[in-house]
């Protein structure tokens, strides 16, 4: 079975996010004054072959904690979709 994996990585609360802060400061110039909590993260996509959804979940979580994120400063959400 093939799975499409999307990893959404964001900085943990309290970790400095210059890109997010800069975007937030620029938005009022466009007239959008009601926006706050802008944060900039990164998205990583890949295709994974696994025997089941739970195995795909387990493998993705492992890759995330070992490599794709640094748990001291980042957290990740994983979205898995089975490819037909």
């Amino acid at each position: 079975m093939k799975f499409s994996i999307l990893v959404d990585i964001q900085l943990l609360e309290g970790i400095s996010d210059p890109a997010g802060a800069t975007i937030e400061r620029a938005l009022p110039a466009l007239g959008y004054k009601e926006i706050c909590d802008v944060s900039v993260g990164k998205t990583i996509r890949f295709t994974l072959e696994a025997t089941s959804l739970s195995e795909a979940q387990k493998t993705s979580e492992k890759i995330c904690s070992l490599f794709l994120t640094n748990p001291v400063i980042e957290e990740a959400k994983i979205v898995i979709e089975e490819l037909s």
């Binding site: 970790i15 400095s16 210059p18 800069t22 490599f67 640094n70 001291v72 400063i73």
Partner: protein, 212 residues
């Protein structure tokens, strides 16, 4: 140590050579470290800083030998990007986040030596001020409360900024591991080893490393 993207290795070679030491450039793709006495991981942008600074360098073939060397007590220092590599490799605690104030910083800094019990400061004096430049975007040291407490209680904060330029927690400029043989610091001592560069305060740190 050279990774693709490292760019301060020649400055380090020049600095240690001026103190009479021999140096050898190690390549990240080699699996051994050719019997050297100590290792310096210099600054730059190892593997383009892709993913996170230091994240990919950790998987370079040479890092297994570096880790073994460090765990056996061999002296290892990481300067700037080298510090980031050492935290990503798990040889030092914490992480380096982007500077408070959103700016890349390239400027002189004044550091205070907090302990002489490390391979980088054994020839220095506790409380001594060192003028050594910084040059980084991700130099804002951070760690969880427990780690910070441990670093403080075990006297493992090796260098602090006198005027914190980047927001580092507890003014931390450099830390060491429990065995005190692995030290990471954001400032560049190799750029403060010649009168022409405005300071020779980096020499005492390299003299310490050579004596370790």
């Amino acid at each position: 140590m050279i990774f693709p993207g490292t760019n301060c290795e020649t400055d380090v070679v020049e600095a240690v050579s001026s103190l009479g030491a021999n140096s050898e450039l190690l390549w990240h793709g080699d699996e051994n470290i050719h019997g050297v006495d100590s290792i310096v991981i210099p600054g730059g942008f190892a593997h383009g800083d892709y993913l996170r600074p230091g994240a990919i360098a950790r998987f370079s073939p040479v890092m297994k030998a570096v880790t073994k060397f460090a765990l056996e007590g061999g002296p290892v220092i990481g300067i700037c990007n080298g510090f980031q590599v050492l935290t990503e490799a798990g040889l030092l605690p914490g992480a380096l986040q982007k500077n408070r104030g959103l700016k890349f910083l390239c400027q002189p800094a004044v550091l205070r030596v907090e302990t002489t019990e490390s391979i980088l400061t054994n020839k220095a004096t506790t409380g001594e001020s060192l003028h050594i430049p910084i040059n980084h975007f991700e130099g804002n040291y951070t760690c969880n409360k427990e780690t910070l407490k441990e670093l403080q209680e075990e006297n493992r904060i090796v260098l602090r900024y006198v005027n914190n330029p980047n927001g580092s927690i507890d003014d931390i400029a450099g830390v060491c591991n429990k065995k005190r043989n692995v030290v990471g610091l954001m400032p560049h001592p190799e750029r403060a080893c010649n009168d022409l560069l405005g300071s020779t305060d980096g020499q005492v740190l390299f003299r310490s490393l050579l004596a370790a």
